[in-house]
Structures are given as structure tokens and as C-alpha cells.
Amino acid sequence: MILKIPNNSFFWLALMGICLGFFPNNVFGQLKIKGNIAAYNDQKAPFPLSGAKIYWLQGNNETISDSEGDFSIPFSKASKRIIISYPNFRNDTLLVNRPDLGRIILFPEIALEAVIVEENVNPLQRSLFDVQNVVTVDSREMLKAACCNLSESFETNPSVDVNISDAATGAKQIQMLGLNSPYLLFTQENMPSIRGASQVYGLSFIPGSWIESIQITKGTGSVLNGFESITGQINSELVKPFIDKEWFLNFYGNSYARFELNARHNADISEKWATGIYLHANKRTAKVDENEDNFLDTPLAQQINFMNRWQYSDAEKGWVGFFNVQYLFDEKQTGEINFNPDKDKFTENTWGSEVQTNRIDVSSKVGYVFPDLPFQSFGLQLAFSNHDQNSYYGFRTYDIQQQSFYSNAIFNSIIGSTQHKYKTGISFTYDGFQESINTQNYNRKDNSIGAFFEYTYNNLEKLSFVAGIRIDNHNRLHTFLTPRLHLRYALWDKANIRASIGRGKRSANIFAENQQLFSSNRQIIIENSEGSTYGLSPETAWNYGISFTQKLYLWNRTLVFSTDFYRTDFVDQVVVDWENPQAVSFYNLDGSSFANSFQIDINYELIQNVNLRATYKNYQVKTNYQSGNLQKPFQPEHRFFVNANYETVKQPSGRQWRFDATLNWLGKQRLPNTQSNPEIYRVEESSPSYSILNAQITYSFTNKFEIYAGGENINNYTQPNPILASDDPFGEYFDSTLSYAPVLGGVYYVGFRFKIQRQ
């Protein structure tokens, strides 16, 4: 033969493909098929199986694997299918389409009692059965972003918008239905949590790794949790000592020198008691000024956050309980890069600011289910917190201390049958504020006592509704009723419609909620004087909404389509007016103020293990300002959101790749009027539209250890001049409140997670 045949399996593969149909059998007489037989040991590591029998489905040739598990057998064209058998292992039949079959894993023969085919539920769940429009986010979702804390855990979620409230502190504000976070109710395990003094920074006081799941309810909330919620409720469930991992360790570092440590340990003390110790610490050590405006792009910060939880459960007697103690210390420094607090505080050398917070939270929850009556239960919630913030911004000092006590007793039972359930109870809250701006004191005490009744009807087919009412007596809001109604109706297969209506009422904590104002030289003006809080009347609003959800199988994959429309109508509001660049004014609404929000969502598994989520949102948020009826500043009318994620199939060892990417597009935002400023200190009428791209890759080595890396704002979009008059911070035009886009460019991070599950 002149032809030299290369000893290369690719060549053989090609040759086989070309020749298979043309040549008679005997030509392939010499062609050998090889492979290696192995099995997994207890540690999920492969080991060779020697002595396995390999034979063709048809034909006489057979062979046995050697001590390394390797085998080689002449190719049989007639059969093409090879069988591998080994005692006590399941036979494997393979189609031979290449000369080297590589490693073939055999699995032990187990008499299976049942095969359970499971589908991973989407980490973002929209229930068809809940009466309220609730999206549940589980902890897997929170692993998709850097998720250092609660505020960042919404970055992959379209129901909630994350906005940046000011260029100096970089604090992130949450919005729902086009309104800021004070109008929505944050609860931690169904007890009001981020409110009053902690309104702006509180979201960064709950570490992401402590969160087990989040429930986001759009529209008016339940009467159980009080009267304050207007646009929605965000409940976060923390990890629980009985079911959480035994050990968890996470370390994170990013390209702007921010480091985070999260550690958790849980232990069972007895059959009925378990405890958990959770620690979070973070620190930013480097000064960053990439836009060269002489101001830090992101504050120097450090936080220590510690929690000890106790969980009690006695299933036989029906008692369950949680007891928590949390301590937090948080410190931020921002301002000019050369600002040295020891030297420059309260001087005109350089402008700087420090915010220091000490917070203690003690809470408990006790529940009793009547052992003979599973539909009847009683619960008691008690919470106490002391929040102490000391801060200064340039020459302005702002101190706020809030002591808060919350108690709620709930009784659950039925009327006739479980088709008619009710919850009733009483609650009492107390808030003591000691607040001061420079030398001006704004101390106040708020207390309220209330009773509620909530009835749930379910006809077990199409209709269910929850109707609630509460009556409260508040020392500043007086006595008032709070009605709430939620309704769900199943239209046809896997489709339903929901509607809700309700009223909320609250006193605005104008300074705590708008702390960004201190990072400017705007004058503070409070215009009314007869009201009960800062001279202002309380805020009252109605919220009504309607939503539609359809789940369907499109090309054998689940598609969830949903759309909703909500409107918030203010009867009375404390308007925050930024339209005069020299001042921020607070006054009671005169005329109309409303927020319309419209959203369309599509969730689809595009191909196996690739999920796509796309959302369009439209906001019309219009308020009668003294200067006219205007769209709320910094509120994009259009927002677009896309999230895609891909996961490889998890190996028995726990090996897995996970990819996630989110794109947020924000339409143009109206900016407050700066016409009266000198030309160099003016901003445009509206911001340009822009996008932010975030992405993350996680690689899990085993069930115990994984690493991740990602980037935020990968497309590196930043606001050109985030701080007005940064060259003259003690002049009258200095203003860092006109922030509509990130100040920080692309942030890249890496981290690892180490976890040991319970035995």
C-alpha cells in the first residue's frame, strides 16, 4: 500500500463516516473500538471497573476490560450497538459512532421503588393561587448578583426598581409602582422593619446571605401589618436555625476595594431548640475618584453586623417560636478625597461627611397551633429596636435616634369551615424620635393602638378574596379606618385575574427619608405649620390595581405572561419639591398627585436550562408642585429589563456552572429645574436614556464549595457631572442630589462560598 494511514481517531471518525455505507464488512475487520469502564465510589470520584464484559448487540465478538478499565474490541458494522455489563451494575447499551468511546460510567443496580422526575422550580415564582399579586424570590435568585445586602437583591427582579438617591453617599433607594420606599412596607418575617430613621440606609443593614426568601406584594398590603403600606409590601424571611446550613462562609472582594465577609453557624441544642450565629462585616478601604471631580465616587465604609437567632419547635404541643438579637455598627465617610475628619471636620478646608449608625434589634415571635384544631392558631410578635445615627454633612449636622416598640397579637380561625378563614387581633406601636438638624430639635413621640379583622373566602374553584379592615388610634393621625380588599378569579386554565384596593396612611419623616438633601447647600423650607408632624399633615393615599397572569406550555416549556396596572391616588401628601435649586421644600399637597404604573412581564425557558425574563414598565407619576403639575423628578417614564440565565446540569458531585446576565434600560428622566443657577451650574431638563449591564458566572466545584465572579455596570455608564459645583462645595450652588445614573463605572468582583449542610 502506498497510502499511509495516520494513527489518529479523528481521521478514523471521518473515514468511518464517509465509508460506512460503501465498503463491505471485512474492510473494517481491523478497526478497533476502545474505551474505559468506570464507576463512582462513595466520594463521587470515578474508579476503573476491571473485568466488565463488553460485547456487540449482534455478533460473537466479546472482550473484558483490563485492570485499568480499558478495553478494545473489533468493530462490528452489523451491530453498531455495544453492551457493557458488570455484575450488580446496570447494563449500558451504546451506539458506537466513534472509535474511542472514552470513559463509560456504569451505575450500580438499585431496585428503585419509584422514580421521581423533578423540575427545578424557577427561583422567581408568581403564584396562580395567592389572592395577592405576590412574587416570591428564593435564595438562589440572590446568588445571581453580588447581593451584598437587601437593596442589591432586587437587581435581577423587575417588580422593584433600584435607584441611586444621591451622588455622595451612593445610597440605593427602592421604588415600587413609581413611588419611593417610604410608601411601601418592609417587613422582616412579617414584622415592620425598615422604617423611620432607617428608611434610607436600612436596606444595607440586612446582609444578602442571611435572606432565605423575599415576598414582594404589589399593591395595598394586608391589614395585619398595620396601616402604613400604600404601594406594596416587601417581606424578607431570614435563614432559620433548624433548617439552615450547619456552616456557611463567604468572602467577597471587588475592584474598588470593597471586601465582605459572611459567616454563619447553626446548631441543634435539643430536639426542640436550635440556634444560629450570623456575622457580616464589610469594609471599603480605597478612595475612588475616577471622574476626577475631587469627590469620592463611593464612600469609605465599614459595617459589623451580628445576629443570634433561637428557634423553638414543639410539634406535638403545637408551640413554635423565634427569638432574635441583632447588633449593627455602620460607618460611612464621603466628600472630597482629601477630607480628613480629624483635621477638616467643620472647617472650610475640604468638604466631608460622616454617617455613623449603631442599632440594636431584639424581637420574638411565638405561635401556638391548637393540636386538635389544625385550622386554629395564635401568634404574638414583639419587637424592640434602638436606632442611633450621628452624622454631619459639611457644616450641617444631622442626628436621629429612634426607639421603637412593636407588638401584634393575631388569632387565626375559621367560620364554619376552612372555606371561610379569619384573622383578628390587636397591635400596639410606639416610636420615640430625637432628631436634630444643627441646633434645631424635632423630638416627637408617636404611638398607636389598633385592632384588625381579616376574612378570607375561598370557593375552592374560581373565586377567592381577602377583605380586611382595621381601626387605629394614633396620637398624630387620630382615629381612622383602613380598609383593604384583594380578589382573585380564575378565568380559564392556568389564567387568573387579580384586583386589589386599599388605603394607607402615614406621617412622613421628611428628613430621614430625604437625607440626600444634606449633601447640598439647599435651604430647608417647611411650608405648612398647622400639621401634627413637622407642621405637616399626614399622608393618605388609595391604591388600586388589577393584574392578569397566564401560564402556558409553549413548545413544551413553561411560559408565564403577566401584566398589571396600578394607580396610587394621594388624598393628602407631603410633597418634596426640588424645583428650586437653592432649596428643598416640604408642603402638603394642593391639587392632584398620582402614580400610574403599567408592567408587562414574560418568563420563558428558551431552551433546556436557559431562562429568559423580559419586562417593560411604564410610569406616570404626576404631582401638583407649586411650580405646576410635573412628572416626579428622576422617574423614567419607560424602563426595560431583560435577564437571562443558564445552568449546566448539576453533577452528583455538585459540579455545576451557572451564568446570569441582566440588562436594565432606563428612559430619560426629568431633572429638577436649575434655570435660576448660573449657566455652568445648570443641568439639562432631562437626563439621557441609558443601560446598565450586570453579569455573573458561578462555578461550583462540589456541594460544599463554589466560586463566583461578576461585573456590575459592565458597559461602564456613568453620569458625567454627578455633583453640581463640586469645585465650590461651600458655595451656594453645591448639590449632589441631582443624581440620575451610577457614579461608579464598571465594578468587578470575585468571591467564594463554602457551606456544610446539616447531617
Binding site: D372, L373, P374, F375, I414, T418, L460
Partner: protein, 118 residues
């Protein structure tokens, strides 16, 4: 006089215990899946006097709490048979049984292995 009252009280308490307001009963109801669960529970709860019904897929046990003064156990079993599910005491008619979806036809052991929609 005293004896009379004692007897009366005894009788009353006997009557009371014979007719409990929250009588709990657990019995077997044949079925396969989550669809069966909601059908069985729905049939039971709709009987006047039944306060609570919970059927367990694994054990096929139905736990009910009902007011004995308002309904009898037999009525509940009858209502369950009406929607196609057997109890030891009352079997569903073939007509009602055959109305069930394919994956719920529990008399055929193979039906358990079928795919059950949520």
C-alpha cells in the same frame, strides 16, 4: 334531687360526647395525586358541618374535623364517592369513577406512574 341533677348532668355530658362539635376522624380514601387531593378535600369540605379536610397523597389518609350535630360520617363518605373516590365503606359508582382524568384512575395500579399535572 341531687341524684336527679347528677344523672341529668351525666346524660348531658354523654350526649355532648356522643355529639362532638369538633369530631376528628381519619380514614382511607383511594386516590393518586395532587388533583385527587384537591377533589377529595373539596368534596368533603362542602358537606355542611365539615370544618376541615386534609388528604395525604402518601398514606391516602383523609383527616376531617366535623360537627357531629350537623352531619354524619357516612354523608361525607358519600360525597367523596360522588366525585369518584372509594372509601372502605362506600365505593364510587363506575359512572362517577370513569369521569376522573386518566391519571386519577386509581383502581388501575398503573395510573400511579403516570405524569400528574400540578
Amino acid at each position: 334531687m341531687k341524684i336527679k341533677y347528677t344523672i341529668l348532668a351525666l346524660l348531658m355530658s354523654l350526649l355532648m360526647s356522643a355529639q362532638e362539635k369538633n369530631k376528628k376522624e381519619t380514614f382511607l380514601v383511594s386516590g393518586n395525586c395532587g388533583m385527587c387531593e384537591s377533589r377529595i378535600e373539596k368534596a368533603a369540605i362542602k358537606v355542611k358541618g365539615v370544618k376541615y379536610a386534609s388528604w395525604d397523597i402518601q398514606s391516602n389518609e383523609l383527616t376531617i374535623i366535623f360537627n357531629e350535630r350537623k352531619c354524619q360520617l357516612k354523608e361525607i363518605k358519600k360525597a367523596i364517592a360522588e366525585v369518584g373516590h372509594d372509601t372502605e365503606e362506600i365505593k364510587a359508582s363506575d359512572e362517577n369513577y370513569e369521569k376522573l382524568p386518566a391519571c386519577c384512575l386509581y383502581r388501575d395500579p398503573k395510573s400511579k406512574e403516570m405524569m400528574h399535572p400540578e
